[in-house]
C-alpha cells in the first residue's frame, strides 16, 4: 500500500489530474503520509535551524563588536555548531549529590519539548495542491491555533522552575524563581496584546488570522501598540536580553542551569533558541501577514501551485529571519534591566496598557463596524477599516511613547527612593554590621 502510494507520488501529476479536486483537503492515507512528512521536515529544519542560529548569534555579536567570530571549523566557521554539538555529547554528565534526581533529569526535557511542539500549528506557506487534494502547510491545522501556542508555551516554565529547585543550589533556585515570576508576568501581557488581533480577525485559528491580513492588510499598522506589547513580552518570555534575568551571569553564575552540564545544558540552550523561533514565527503570523506576499493578491487565491508554495515559504522565512536578527541585534544593543524595573514594567505598565488597549481596540472595531466602514481593500489597495485603525494607533503610539519616555514608570536607576524605603534600607544595613563595615 505504502509503496504503491509512493509510486503514484513519483509519477507525472498530469496523468492523475482527473482523480482529485485541488481545493478539497487530503484525507485518509495521503493525509497521514503528508502529516508524517511535514512532521519530519519541520522538526529537522527547526533543529538544524537552531544549531545554525547559535552560529548566527556568535557571528552577529562578533560583527556588532567589530570582531571576526568563530572561523576555524569548516568554511567561515559553518561547522562550528556541529563541533559544539559533538563536544556537548562527549562531555561528562555531572549529577550534584544534593540534587533531587528525578526532577533534575526531567527538567531539561520539560523545557525542551514544549519549545519544540509549539511550532506545530504555525502556517508557514500557502497550501499546496497535491494530487490527492489540498495540503495545509502547518504540521497540525488545529482550530484553536493561538490558544494552543499559549497553552503549551505556558508549560515551558515548569522546566526552568524545576531545574532551579531540583539542583538544590541557591543561585539556581533564585534564577528559577526569578524566571518563573518573569514568565508568568509577561505571559499575561502577551496574551492580552494578542487579544486585539483576535478581536480584529474574529477567530483564534492562525490560518484565519493570516487570511484576514491578506484581505485587509498586515496587522502591524492597525494594531501597532498591540505589536509593541507583544514584541516586548515575547522578549521577556524567551528570557532574552534585555530580560535575561534567570541567567544574569554577573549575579547568579548561570541561573537555573548552573548545575547542568553536557547535553542536559544543551537542551536548555536548544529550548531557548527554538522558543525564539516560535516567538518570531508568531509575531510574523499575528502581525506581519504570515506567509502573505505584500502588495499582491496573486498569492491569496487558488490555484495553489508549487511556485506559489515556494515563494510564500520564502517570504515567511525572510520575515522570520528578520525577527531572529532583531532578537540578536537587541541583545547586543540594550543592557539588562534590573529585576524590580522588569517587574514594574510588566505589572505597572504593560498589563494596564494591554488592558486599556483591548477596550480601545474593541470599541474602535465596534464603532467602525456600526458605521459600516468596509474591511476589504477599496482605494489604492488600502482598506478604509485598516487605515482608520492605523491612524488611531499612530496617535496612541505617540502618547504611549511620550509617557514611556518620562522615565517614571519603570523606576530608572536615578529615580528617587521614597523616605520610607530609605529608612528600611538603613535599618537593614544597621542590623548587619558586616555589610555596614564594607562601606555601603
Amino acid at each position: 500500500m505504502m509503496l504503491a502510494t509512493l509510486a503514484v507520488m513519483a509519477s507525472d501529476p498530469v496523468v492523475y489530474h482527473t482523480y482529485y479536486d485541488p481545493l478539497v483537503p487530503v484525507t485518509a492515507l495521503p493525509w497521514l503520509l503528508y502529516t508524517i512528512l511535514k512532521m519530519i521536515i519541520v522538526f529537522t529544519v527547526l533543529m538544524v535551524g537552531v544549531a545554525m542560529l547559535t552560529l548566527a548569534e556568535r557571528k552577529i555579536s562578533a560583527w556588532i563588536q567589530d570582531r571576526i567570530g568563530p572561523n576555524r571549523t569548516g568554511y567561515g566557521g559553518l561547522l562550528q555548531p556541529a563541533a559544539d554539538g559533538l563536544k556537548n555529547i562527549m562531555k561528562e554528565e555531572t549529577y550534584p549529590d544534593a540534587a533531587y534526581m528525578p526532577l533534575f533529569i526531567l527538567a531539561p526535557m520539560l523545557s525542551f519539548i514544549p519549545s519544540l511542539i509549539t511550532f506545530a500549528v504555525i502556517p508557514f506557506a500557502a497550501p499546496f495542491s497535491s494530487r490527492w487534494g489540498l495540503v495545509e502547510m502547518s504540521v497540525a491545522d488545529v482550530p484553536i491555533g493561538f490558544l494552543y501556542i499559549l497553552a503549551i508555551s505556558s508549560l515551558g516554565v515548569y522546566g526552568i522552575v524545576l531545574a532551579g529547585w531540583s539542583s538544590n543550589n541557591k543561585y539556581s533556585l533564585l534564577g528559577g524563581l526569578r524566571s518563573s515570576a518573569q514568565m508568568i508576568s509577561y505571559e499575561i501581557s502577551m496574551g492580552m496584546a494578542a487579544v486585539s488581533v483576535l478581536l480584529l480577525s474574529g477567530n483564534v485559528s492562525l490560518q484565519a488570522i493570516v487570511h484576514q491580513q491578506q484581505t485587509m492588510g498586515w496587522n502591524v499598522f492597525p494594531l501597532l501598540i498591540g505589536f509593541f506589547i507583544f514584541c516586548v513580552a515575547s522578549f521577556a518570555e524567551t528570557n532574552r536580553l534585555p530580560f535575561d534575568m534567570p541567567e544574569a551571569e554577573s549575579e547568579l553564575i548561570a541561573g537555573y542551569h548552573t548545575e547542568y552540564s553536557a547535553m542536559k545544558f544543551s537542551m536548555f540552550f536548544i529550548a531557548e533558541y527554538s522558543n525564539m523561533v516560535t516567538a518570531s514565527a508568531l509575531m510574523v503570523t499575528l502581525f506581519f501577514g504570515g506567509w502573505d506576499i505584500p502588495g499582491t493578491q496573486w498569492d491569496n487565491i487558488p490555484p495553489w501551485t508549487l511556485l506559489k508554495f515556494l515563494l510564500t515559504l520564502g517570504f515567511f522565512f525572510t520575515k522570520l529571519l528578520f525577527f531572529l536578527f532583531l532578537y540578536m541585534w537587541i541583545r547586543w544593543t540594550l543592557p539588562r534591566f534590573r529585576y524590580d524595573q522588569l517587574m514594574s514594567l510588566g505589572w505597572k505598565f504593560m498589563l494596564p496598557l494591554a488592558l486599556a488597549y483591548i477596550v480601545i481596540t474593541g470599541g474602535a472595531i465596534l464603532v467602525l463596524d456600526m458605521l459600516q466602514v468596509p474591511r476589504s481593500v477599496q482605494w489604492f489597495g488600502i482598506s478604509p477599516f485598516w487605515a482608520v485603525l492605523g491612524v488611531l494607533n499612530l496617535v496612541l503610539a505617540v502618547l504611549v511613547f511620550v509617557i514611556l519616555d518620562r522615565g517614571r514608570i519603570i523606576s530608572p536607576a536615578y529615580s528617587r527612593l521614597s523616605p520610607l524605603h530609605i529608612a528600611r534600607l538603613r535599618a537593614m544595613s544597621a542590623a548587619r554590621p558586616f555589610a555596614a563595615s564594607q562601606g555601603d
Binding site: Y100, P102, L103, V142, P143, I144, L147, Y148, L150, A151, I152, S154, L155, V157, Y158, V161, L162, W165, L173, G176, L177, S180, A181, I184, E187, L198, G202, N203, V204, S205, A208, L420, R424
Partner: protein, 172 residues
C-alpha cells in the same frame, strides 16, 4: 480503524490520568504531588480534545497546568515545603474507616450512574471554522449577568488577597 484509535486513546489518557491522580494523593513530597496533578490536568485536556471540545482542552492546560499549578509550585518552593516530611494526615482507625466508607459510597455512585443512559447531544457542534463562538455567544448574551457577577467575585478575592498581604507588621 478510527473507532479503534479513538478507544485506544480514550483508555490511554483515561488510565494515565487516573494513575496520576492516585500518585498525586499518595506522594509525600509536595512538589512531586503537584507535578502528578499537572499530569492529570494534561490528560484531562487530551480527553476534552477527543470530545471535540478543543477550546476547553486548551483552556484547561492554559489555566490549570500553566497558571494555577505554577503558582502552587511557587508557594511550595518559596515556603521550602519541597522536602518530604514524616507528618501524615492519617488520623487513626476511625479516620481510615470513614475514608474507606466514603470511597465505597463514591464507587457505588459511579456504578449507579454508569447504568443510566444519558441523552446524546447531536448536531450541536456546528462548524470547525470557529471554536470560540459556541462558547462566547451564550456567555455574553444569555449568561451575561452570571458572567459579570463571577468576575466581580474573582476581583473581590484578588483585592482581598492584596489587602491581607499588605497588612503585615512592617507596613504602615
Amino acid at each position: 480503524m478510527n473507532t479503534l484509535l479513538y478507544t485506544f486513546h480514550f483508555y490511554l489518557f483515561g488510565l494515565i490520568s487516573i494513575a496520576s491522580a492516585v500518585a498525586f494523593v499518595t506522594r509525600k513530597s509536595p512538589v512531586a504531588a503537584a507535578l502528578w496533578l499537572v499530569n492529570t490536568m494534561f490528560c484531562l485536556s487530551a480527553l476534552y480534545v477527543m470530545l471535540d471540545a478543543q477550546f476547553i482542552g486548551a483552556v484547561q492546560v492554559l489555566v490549570y497546568a500553566g497558571a494555577i499549578m505554577v503558582v502552587f509550585l511557587f508557594v511550595v518552593m518559596l515556603l521550602n515545603l519541597g522536602q518530604a516530611s514524616d507528618v501524615t494526615d492519617m488520623r487513626g482507625l476511625g479516620g481510615r474507616l470513614t475514608a474507606g466508607l466514603v470511597g465505597l459510597a463514591m464507587l457505588a455512585e459511579l456504578f449507579a450512574l454508569s447504568r443510566i443512559k444519558f441523552p446524546r447531544l447531536t448536531g450541536a457542534m456546528g462548524d470547525h471554522a470557529n471554536v470560540v463562538n459556541p462558547i462566547s455567544a451564550p456567555l455574553f448574551h444569555e449568561y451575561l449577568l452570571p458572567f459579570e457577577v463571577t468576575s466581580v467575585v474573582l476581583l473581590v478575592a484578588v483585592v482581598g488577597a492584596v489587602v491581607l498581604a499588605k497588612r503585615g507588621p512592617g507596613a504602615s
